[in-house]
């Protein structure tokens, strides 16, 4: 795994907290390659809740295609980093 910059690390840690909160699992572990297949219960129904929580946490807003078009956690992390500038 590549070393993360401070900003990436901050984003990742906040993301991990959101994931644990949404999936009600305090021991949940994620990394850049985690996809919906890897987390039980991550379907389109929960995905929207997750994305809105992410929006609230980071103070950003995604458009519909960004919400629907993410491949993995790494892409989400990059998207947030891009929005935060």
């Amino acid at each position: 795994m590549f070393p993360m910059r401070t900003n990436d690390k901050m984003i990742f840690e906040k993301l991990l907290t959101v994931f644990r909160e949404v999936f009600l699992d305090e021991d949940l572990q994620i990394d850049g390659s985690t996809t919906a297949q890897d987390i039980p219960g991550w379907d389109s129904f929960v995905h929207v809740t997750l994305m809105v929580k992410v929006e609230e946490t980071f103070g950003v807003q995604f458009d519909d295609d960004e919400i629907g078009g993410l491949a993995d956690v790494g892409e989400l992390q990059q998207l947030i980093a891009g929005k935060l500038g």
């Binding site: 009600l24 039980p40 219960g41 379907d43 389109s44 129904f45 995905h47 929207v48 809740t49 994305m51 809105v52 929580k53 929006e55 609230e56 458009d63 519909d64 295609d65 919400i67 629907g68 078009g69």
Partner: protein, 384 residues
């Protein structure tokens, strides 16, 4: 004569594959639009071809105007957006009303039916949503005609994705290899086999040349299998033709009778419709409601969105109360399943393999029973 037995269609399709795979300066999307106009005009009806050109141009003009005036906030742009949205919706409503109650022999209806307008309408909604809300570019007029009326997906879908269609122009030209061609031909012939041998052979074996009658649960189960091979056959043919043409064409069926829940069934049956609903209705609706009401209401909002979306899917099939009830029922069942699954996943014993296997088996039987019963409820009326 049905288009599948029409040699002109297959000759034209072969010519289109050659034209699409030839190195030419024209963008792929525009080339495909022109080819679709020609195939529909020659193999189906030249008036249908003119109608698709007119509809494509009207949608393009409306959306182009929005693009010219910038963000969709100015008065003129909003009016334009309303016009481009309401005109196709009006045509769709009239089309469905005639399909359900009226005289289906009039020329406008016949032409719209030739073009499978129900699917075209969904593509129009997608292109309006994507172009007006995102930074996605609008295709040129003839290319847009190709997205809205792809000749190989016209009979019964599947529903192609606008963003994927656009990407055709960005891809580097590659010749069709013999292995790719063989795989494409295999898909087309397999689709034809599913349609002719399994669907029609099965139908004539069971019902003879009489019309299909759904009078018992066994009839409904057999019709369920018939529609899978019929609709699935067309979809596999379209998928194969899409690969030969180099036009993005989604997979529409993936062993739906192995689905362990109604939610999974909709990820395996008419997949491209389920994906369309997710992209264009469910996600936008749920996102806006959750943002407005707060994530503490996410479950209620999710249930409501599911019911509303599937009620829409029901009415999209036919304008009658049975399809509406069917859609609401499917949405409600999916919401119930979702809640049951979240309770199940929180139990430690739910991780036992044997238990998971047993639930899977029961789930497959339950899904087939529930979906067959649901289809029977709506087909009873359409086959009478």
């Amino acid at each position: 004569m049905d288009v599948l037995l029409n040699p002109t269609f297959w000759l034209l399709a072969t010519a289109c594959i050659i034209a699409m795979r030839a190195p030419m300066p024209w963008p792929q999307t525009t080339r495909f639009g022109v080819l679709s106009l020609v195939v529909i005009g020659v193999a189906f009806d030249w008036r249908a071809s003119l109608l698709m050109l007119a509809i494509g141009l009207a949608v393009w003009l409306g959306l182009h105007r929005i693009g010219e005036t910038g963000a969709a906030s100015s008065g003129g742009t909003s009016l334009c957006l309303l016009a481009v949205l309401f005109a196709p919706s009006g045509v769709f409503v009239l089309y469905k009303l005639v399909q359900t109650n009226g005289d289906a022999s009039g020329l406008p209806y016949m032409l719209l039916a030739t073009l499978s307008f129900s699917y075209v309408f969904l593509r129009i909604i997608e292109v309006i949503r994507v172009v007006s809300a995102s930074r996605v570019r609008l295709l040129r007029p003839l290319a847009l005609v190709g997205y809205l009326f792809p000749f190989h997906m016209l009979i019964s879908g599947p529903l192609n994705v606008y963003a994927h269609h656009l990407k055709m122009d960005d891809e580097e030209w590659k010749p069709l290899t013999l292995v790719e061609a063989a795989k494409g031909v295999w898909l087309v012939v397999t689709g034809l086999f599913l349609k002719v041998v399994l669907a029609e052979g099965g139908r004539t074996f069971i019902w003879g040349t009489e019309a299909i009658a759904v009078e018992s649960w066994t009839d409904a189960a057999m019709v369920h299998a018939y529609v899978l091979f019929d609709f699935g056959g067309y979809s596999v043919m379209a998928f194969g033709l899409g690969r030969l043409l180099g036009v993005p064409t989604p997979l529409n069926f993936r062993r739906p009778f192995l689905a362990g829940s109604v939610s999974e069934y909709w990820r395996r049956w008419h997949i491209s419709l389920g994906d369309w609903v997710r992209r264009n209705l469910f996600t936008p609706l749920q996102v806006r409601l959750v943002r407005r009401l707060g994530s503490q209401h996410a479950v209620t909002v999710g249930v409501l969105s599911l019911v509303v979306c599937f009620a829409g899917v029901g009415v999209w099939h036919r304008f009658n109360s049975r399809y509406l009830v069917w859609g609401i029922g499917i949405g409600a069942l999916m919401a119930l399943e979702k809640m049951a699954a979240s309770v199940w996943m929180r139990q430690s014993w739910s991780r036992q393999k044997s238990l998971q296997w047993a639930v899977r088996v029961v789930g497959v039987a339950y899904t087939f029973f529930v979906m067959t019963a649901g289809w029977m409820y709506v087909w009873e009326e359409s086959t009478q």
